[in-house]
Symmetry: C2
Amino acid sequence: MSLPVDSVLLTDLYQLTMLQGYQAQRMNETAVFEFFVRKLPGGAEPKRNFLLAAGLEQALEFLEGMRFRPDEIEWLRATGRFAPDFIDALAALRFSGDVDAMPEGTVFFPDEPIVRVTAPLPEAQLAETRLINLLHFQTLIASKAARMTLAAPGKLLVDFGLRRAHGAEAGLLAARAACLAGFSGTSDVLAGRLWGIPLYGTMAHSFIQAHDDELTAFEHFALAQPDNLVLLIDTYDTEAAAEKLIPLAERLAAKGIRIQGVRLDSGDLAEHARRVRRILDRGGLGQVSIFASGSLDETLLARHTAEAVPIDGYGIGTRMDTSSDAPYLDCAYKLQEYAGIPRRKRSEGKATWPGRKQVYRYYDGEGTMQRDSLTLVDDPQPGEPLLRPVMRHGRRLGASPPLQTLRSYAIEQLGRLPEALRRLSPAPAYPVEIAGRLRALVQAMDGGS
Amino acid sequence: MSLPVDSVLLTDLYQLTMLQGYQAQRMNETAVFEFFVRKLPGGAEPKRNFLLAAGLEQALEFLEGMRFRPDEIEWLRATGRFAPDFIDALAALRFSGDVDAMPEGTVFFPDEPIVRVTAPLPEAQLAETRLINLLHFQTLIASKAARMTLAAPGKLLVDFGLRRAHGAEAGLLAARAACLAGFSGTSDVLAGRLWGIPLYGTMAHSFIQAHDDELTAFEHFALAQPDNLVLLIDTYDTEAAAEKLIPLAERLAAKGIRIQGVRLDSGDLAEHARRVRRILDRGGLGQVSIFASGSLDETLLARHTAEAVPIDGYGIGTRMDTSSDAPYLDCAYKLQEYAGIPRRKRSEGKATWPGRKQVYRYYDGEGTMQRDSLTLVDDPQPGEPLLRPVMRHGRRLGASPPLQTLRSYAIEQLGRLPEALRRLSPAPAYPVEIAGRLRALVQAMDGGS
C-alpha cells in the first residue's frame, strides 16, 4: 500500500471539528495566520544562531491542491461524525487566499513570521497541520545543514541520510533542504530525479563482503564503474586496503580506468585520512581524493577544517537528516487577525505578537545584516521588507525558482551573516526590534481585555 | 506535486551502481542480510532499556511491490549512467526472496536481528535503503512510545504529533507505531482511516481567538460538538476559564449537552490540573475529565503518576513523533552470508556477527523474560525462537495482523519485561548470550583471513 501523503486528510481531527463550528456560526471572514518559530533550540545555550527558511514550494503546492477527493468525502460521511451539509461544504472547499512569505533560503530569527496566510477562516484553519508539517521540517534541516556548509568551506558535502531519515518524505525533503543550504548533492536517487540534485554514490561494505577477497571486489567494481570510481577501504583494515590500491591503480590504468577516490567510514576519520593520504601520495596517487562518512556532524567538520585534515568531501547522513542535536523547532501557525481585528493568544510562555506583520532588515555598509524590525504591515519602515507576495487568490505568482537558484541565494544569505552568528558556538542574540506601533497594539489589547 | 513515496527510486545511488557490478560478474547467488540495532541510544547511560520491533508490515508491502515503473526505467536510461542491458534487467527485477522476522511489538535488544532477508544478492541489496528507512523509524517511535505507556498506566494517551513529525509519512507511521506500543488513539485523520486507529481531537486556540470572547467560543463549540465536548481553557487565564464552565454547564445541560472534558496546554500542567480539578469539583462538575498537552514526555508522565496529578489523559506530540531525546537508532542491514559462506564486516566499532541467525528467549516461571541467546539457525536451542517465517518466494504468508492485535501483543510483551527494564532510568543490560557455535564461527573466520 502506498501512503497517500498528498491527502488533505493529513490533518488533525480538530481542524474538521472546528470547521464544522465555524460553518454553524457562519464564521467565514478573513483570517490572518502567521508561521513563526518561538525560540531557537537549546534554551540558554542556543544550538542554532540563526534559522534558514525552507519548505515554501511544497507549502504552496499543498495549498493550490488542497481539496477533498470523492473517496475521502465518502469516508468522512461514513464515519458519522459530521453533519451532511458540512460534508457538502468540505467537498466544495478550495484554498482561495493570499500568501506572503520570505523566499526559501532567507536567514530569519525567532518571532519573525516567515509565511503569512490571509484567507477565509475555514480555509486558513484547515491548512494548519500540513503547513506546519512542511515548513517546520525543511526549515529544521536547512538550518542544520547551513551550519555544516559554514563549518567545511571548500569541501564537497553530500546528503547520505535517506535510510535513517524519518520516513520517505523526510528523506526526500531533507535532500532538498540540504541542497538549498549549500550541499552539493545527495545519494537519494528520487530526490535527484525530482529536483535535479546532483547524485553521488560509492559502494557499500556488502559489495566487498560478497566477494571472497577485497582486491577482487575492487577490481570488479572498477570494471562496472570505470568513469566514477570511488572505493570503500575500511571493511577489514583501512591502511592495508590503501596499500593494495598502488599496484591496482597501475593495472587499472592499463585499461584506461582511473581511481577517483576512496571512502573511509569508520574509526578515527582524521587519523585514517592522514595515513591514507601519505600512502596514496607515496604511491603516486596524489590525485585520488579522500571521501569520509559515518556519524558526521558540523562539530567534527569544523575540527577537521581547523586541523586541515586531508579529507576532500563528506557524506553526511543521520545527524543532518534527523537534526539530531535539535530534532524539532518550537514553531507555530497562529491566528493574528480575524474579521479585521487583531488577535492575541496570551497562554503562559506562548503569547503571540498580534496583527498582520512584516519584517524589515537593515544592513551595514558591507551588506552584513545588522538588525531586524518586526512591525505591522501598515507601518512601513525604511529597511528591506522580507515577506513578499507569493500567492494571490489561491494561485501562485509565478513558478517556484529552481533549487539551484534558491541555493545560490541561501549561500549569499549565509555570507551576509554577522561573523559571530556564522560560528557553531552560541552567539549573542541577533537584534530583532519590536516597532513602537506593534508594542502599542499589544498594550491596548492587554489593557482592554 | 505529490511525492511518490512508493517509488523504488527511494534508494541510494550506490545500490544501483553495485547492482550493475553484480550483474557484470553474474553474482546472483543467495544472500542473507539481517536488520539489527548495534547499541541502545545514549552510550554509557542508555536512554532506552529495550526496543520494540515495528515497521514489518510496511517493509513487507514494500518488498512485495518492489519494481521499477516504466517512467522510472526511461528516466534511468536517460541519465546515461547505466548500461542498456543493466536497465533491462532492472525493468524485470522483482523480489523473489524469503523473510523471517520478529512479530511487530516484540521486545528486542542490540545485536539481535529482527528481520532476516534471504534472496538473490541484487534483490536483497536493492531493498536495503528503504527497508532500513521503514524498520528504523517505526522501531524508534514504538520504543519511545512504549516508555510513555509504561510511565502512565491507566491514562488515555493520544498521538498529537503530525504537525512536528518529519514530513507526512513520519506523522502517519508515528501514529501507527504509537498505537502499536499502547497509545489509545491519534489526532491524525488519515492514520485513523488507514489503520482504524481511534481518532481524538478537541479545539485549538484559534477557535477561541476568532471569537470576541472566550465564553461565546465555548458556547459555539458546544453547539457544533454536542456529543464529545472538550473545551480548551488556557487561551487567556486557565482558572478563570474553568470558573466560567460552572454556569455554562448548567445552561448547556438545559439543551442536553454535557461538557466531557477540558484541555490544558500551557504553564505548569500539574498545578493547573489540581486547581482546575478543585474548581470543577466544587461546581458539581466532578465527571468532567482533564486532558493535558504541550511538550510532554515520559519523564513528566512518570512524575504526574507518582504525584497522582488529576489528569485523565494526555495528547503527546513532538517529543514522541521525533523521539526527541534519541532521534535515531544505530541500526544496520548487513550481509551475513553469500553463496553459502558466512560473511563478516570487521570495520572498527562496526563488526558484525556473521551467518544467518536466530534469537532464542528464556522466561522464568512467571513468564518474565530472563535472557536471550543469539545463535546460528542450524544450532537450535531450547528457548522460544523469536524470528518466524513471514514471506516465502516474495509472497507474504498470510495477511498482516490488524493493528489492534499487534497492540495487544505489544502490551503483553511489555508486561513480560523484567521490572528494572520497565523503569525509565537506565537498567543493567538485559543478558543476550552469544552461543558457542556462533563464537566459534567468528574465531574461525577472523583467524583464517
